[in-house]
Subunit: 241 residues, 2 copies
């Protein structure tokens, strides 16, 4: 067994719940849901961490407007506090440059990051997962033993096709699936809901396409006031978040 | 040097042009642009191939409605003909099951597929690239020497941030960039155009969000009649496609 796995477990032992926000493909709003979920829980008074592991397209720092704050290195890494959230992103280590890591590096970077970060005690650690079911996704699933999964899709057949694969893998591995949020809805089709019911996966509800959202990107306070947030909150209520 | 690289070159020697459709992140319409570009060129009478290498989320077969046709295996692989397009997708080899390949497998599968496929003589081979700048993207860039790149983004800051990384890598490698299409536009912001001009990358134009598009998914003939297609054609005209 990879020895760092037990180090990771020790590092995360004071984290009550870990919620991994995942999607079958990119562009469905996964990072936005992860960041907004962290904002939502922090606003409710919980101690929250947000870890962006979307190695090839980290965007939580853009969504939350993180600028000029950096993790401290002191017996490991101490995440900075943004909007009441302990925030850490892979972007701090790729320095926002094009960073074409290869397979084994990716695994090592993720392992390293999980091994050395001092989250302290948290009520929730939200993980912005890499999209799809590539290496990094499988690594994170493997290394973080107590993750619960929140999946995001759009109303499109293509997005559902992709998220279904991910959900099948999670089911095969007997991992807890909190449910699926349908994002960027534009019609009242029940296609996604019907398909998820068939798969016996909890459908948490839908979020209508929010034209005002792009203007809120980069500002956590504005994101909390969007329609997107209002409808996401309704979905989250179904799983008592 | 990987010996299969020269095999691949030989296999592709009767392909006049290779257009790799790429994006910095998923969900921006890359596969739709790739499939529609292939349909557009086939309709104009060209001999066209479409190769879906989006390993973790192949969707060209869903977009084109490919059903019950399979490649023939005969001294290699012969792609079936769909809407006048020689069509091959990684999905034929993952059988649409959850298929969590790992780093080295991915490279091998892509190399193998490129080595054994008999495209014959083509005017254009369109490649639906994996999203982002992960291993598979780097492999395809490395193995296909004569690729020209068509990039796709949406109007969002996050999508542009991601595609910029890809464009930087392509520039560093001195690879030909045909230009960038801005997809799913909803406002008349010139943000993407302005940023691309700063980067000295050709902006080919924008495609408005097309609410009718989802209903055309799965039917090549209907896709040719969408507003999406009409606006994509305008963008393509700028590069004489």
């Amino acid at each position: 067994m990879e020895p760092r796995v037990s180090i990771i477990e020790r590092r995360l032992k004071n984290v009550k719940r870990i919620v991994s926000v995942a999607s079958g493909k990119g562009g469905v709003g996964k990072s936005l849901v992860a960041s907004s979920l962290a904002l939502h829980l922090a606003k409710k008074g919980y101690k929250v961490g947000l870890l962006d592991l979307d190695l090839y397209g980290p965007s939580s720092h853009i969504i939350l407007g993180v600028k000029d704050v950096f993790p401290k290195e002191e017996k490991g890494i101490i995440p900075p506090n943004i909007h009441g959230i302990s925030f850490l992103s892979i972007v701090y280590f790729s320095e926002d440059k094009p960073s074409p890591f290869r397979g084994i590096d990716v695994t090592n970077i993720i392992l390293e990051l999980l091994s050395i970060t001092q989250w302290g005690s948290l009520d929730y650690l939200i993980i912005d997962m890499p999209p799809g079911i590539g290496d990094e996704t499988l690594d994170v699933i493997r290394f973080i033993k107590k993750g619960e999964f929140l999946a995001v899709t759009t109303p499109s057949k293509v997005a559902l096709g992709a998220v279904s694969k991910l959900l099948k893998i999670l089911k095969e591995l007997k991992l807890p699936i909190l449910g699926v949020v349908e994002n960027m809805r534009m019609t009242d089709s029940s296609f996604i809901k019907d398909e998820l019911v068939k798969m016996d996966i909890p459908y948490l509800g839908s979020i209508n396409f929010d034209h005002g959202l792009e203007d809120a990107i980069g500002n956590g306070d504005l994101i909390l006031k969007t329609n997107f947030m209002k409808e996401l909150t309704k979905c989250l209520r179904k799983i008592d978040f």
